[in-house]
């Protein structure tokens, strides 16, 4: 690199922290070179996306490398259209007298979902309640919520609780252009005592 002025001249730094390989001992340089070649090959291989629905367990060593060093190289963002127009989640309780109560879903403290929807909360609740591959998270959430609701409400009221998920799905563009709303409401509910859920 040729310098043109004192301001942009460069020095061969002798500090070990500056990433220069010591000329005396070649082994650190060799190890670094091998690692760089390996990681570059790992990255180049990662350009090719895995086939869809391939859920084979990987090699533990390679998976460990992905978690600890390489990162999960999945960059197929918006692989298909986002279909939800909006998402709303709440607990609905009914006591023995038929009185209804609504409680917000965010733990701790049963706080409301932020409005307008934040990307993180949207992702969290979509994956928590609607994604097929994260059912253990949903079951654990519903198991946790039952005792918490019981503890903060009047135990003599005999309330039964349901988690209600209101999803507005974007309608097909062809149909929307011919008139009518741009989205359609679909509700899904989960009984707290039977967390497997039921969809009307």
């Amino acid at each position: 690199m040729r310098s043109t002025s004192p301001d942009d001249s460069l020095a061969q730094d002798s500090a070990p922290d500056a990433g220069r390989v010591s000329p005396g001992n070649p082994w650190p340089a060799r190890l670094l070179l091998v690692f760089c070649c390996w990681h570059a090959a790992f990255l180049i291989y990662s350009i090719i996306p895995a086939p869809p629905a391939q859920n084979k367990p990987g090699h533990p060593a390679l998976d460990f490398y992905r978690i600890a060093l390489g990162g999960r190289q999945q960059w197929n963002m918006f692989e298909t259209i986002p279909v939800l127009h909006s998402l709303d989640v709440r607990f609905e309780g009914v006591d023995r007298q038929g009185r209804e109560t609504i409680v917000d879903p965010v733990l701790p403290g049963f706080k409301p979902l932020p409005r307008p929807e934040s990307a993180r909360y949207y992702n969290a609740f979509y994956r928590l309640l609607l994604a097929a591959e994260t059912v253990p998270f949903r079951d654990a959430y519903l198991r946790k919520v039952g005792p918490l609701l019981a503890a903060q409400r009047d135990p003599t009221a005999g309330e039964t609780w349901t988690l209600v998920v209101n999803q507005e799905y974007t309608r097909n563009l062809f149909h929307s252009r011919r008139g009518g709303p741009i989205s359609v409401l679909v509700s899904k509910s989960f009984d707290i005592s039977t967390p497997d859920g039921d969809a009307p």
Binding site: D13, D17, A18, P51, Q73, Q74, F78, L107, A124
Partner: protein
């Protein structure tokens, strides 16, 4: 057959990876990556701060046992041990301190190590609220850790007025891997659509649906009136994603690549709600494509402004 004197010998071929990875590079490029990366990661942490108990504590939304079961093959997270509300707050406070240290270049290697631990930990503890920028920051946190840190663009050197210092020439292995990571990021998305064709990207309707979704800043019936225009933009996005890495890699066109990428990501940020951090994380990755003359020019510009300000 007589061997051409220009034909490379085997030993020369074997040396080419070393030439590629160990060619000297201006340490200020690494410093630019380190500073901008730490700033964006710190912003991400600050935006997570109000929701730290919701996402990372044992009292929050995401069940620890489910997160441990979801992690394959191992659960790697300090939040496995530190799950109380106070512990989560402490971890994030230490991380904020580490990010400031990384930005300042003080104890930078140790700070970068902690920042990597933080990214691995929170992503394992709370896989549900993750977004695309988390993965970008996590990949860069590892590559920053294995990159030369340098001493020239650090707070101590700045305070001393760079007395007796000139920027060091360091190995460029980190920059090669950082640039390759950016190429993977874009081309993986492009190849995913080619190998597993999606009808909405293919027929140009993707952006119309995006603009009607919860992601959109202004969803409404008006979107239906601009179907043809949005189809053109859908195809333009795919072309841009394929072209940006090539333009960034070529020295003469790197600014065009940066301009195209900036237009793409600022465009997404403008029409989408709450994806600003993705825009910043992606623009942060472009610092890896800076060259010696860029950082030298930037430094000279700042020095001139500083002198002018001091003399005024």
């Amino acid at each position: 057959m007589p061997r051409s004197p220009r034909m490379p010998t085997i030993s020369r071929w074997l040396r080419s990876p070393a030439d590629l990875f160990f060619k000297p590079e201006d340490e200020r490029i690494y410093a630019a990556v380190r500073i901008v990366f730490a700033a964006v990661a710190l912003l991400n942490l600050l935006l997570l701060w109000p929701d730290r108990q919701v996402f990372f504590s044992n009292e929050g939304l995401v069940d620890l046992d489910a997160a441990m079961g979801d992690a394959k093959p191992f659960y790697l997270s300090i939040f496995g041990l530190l799950g109380s509300e106070a512990a989560v707050t402490s971890v994030m406070f230490v991380t904020a301190f580490a990010l400031v240290m990384l930005m300042a270049g003080i104890g930078a290697r140790l700070a970068a190590f902690w920042v990597l631990v933080w990214h691995i930990s929170y992503m394992a503890r709370a896989p549900l609220p993750l977004a695309g920028w988390d993965l970008v920051l996590r990949c860069f946190s590892f590559l920053v850790l294995i990159s030369p840190m340098g001493k020239y663009w650090t707070l101590p050197a700045l305070i001393r007025g760079h007395a007796g210092m000139i920027p060091a020439s360091v190995s460029r292995h980190g920059l090669i891997l950082l640039r390759l990571q950016v190429v993977v990021l874009y081309w993986h998305a492009v190849l995913a659509r080619i190998l597993n064709p999606d009808p909405y990207w293919g027929n140009g309707e993707f952006l119309s649906y995006f603009m009607l979704s919860h992601h959109a800043r202004w969803p409404g019936r008006w979107v239906l009136e601009y179907g043809s225009f949005l189809a053109v933009v859908t195809y333009a996005i795919q072309l841009a994603e394929a072209a940006i890495p090539v333009l960034l890699l070529v020295k003469k066109t790197r600014w065009w690549g940066a301009l195209l990428g900036t237009a793409l990501h600022i465009g997404i940020c403008l029409v989408a709600r709450d994806l600003g951090l993705f825009c910043l994380a992606m623009l942060m990755t472009y610092t890896a494509f800076l060259r010696h003359e860029d950082v030298a020019g930037a430094e000279q510009w700042v020095r001139r402004r500083w002198r002018r300000g001091a003399s005024a």
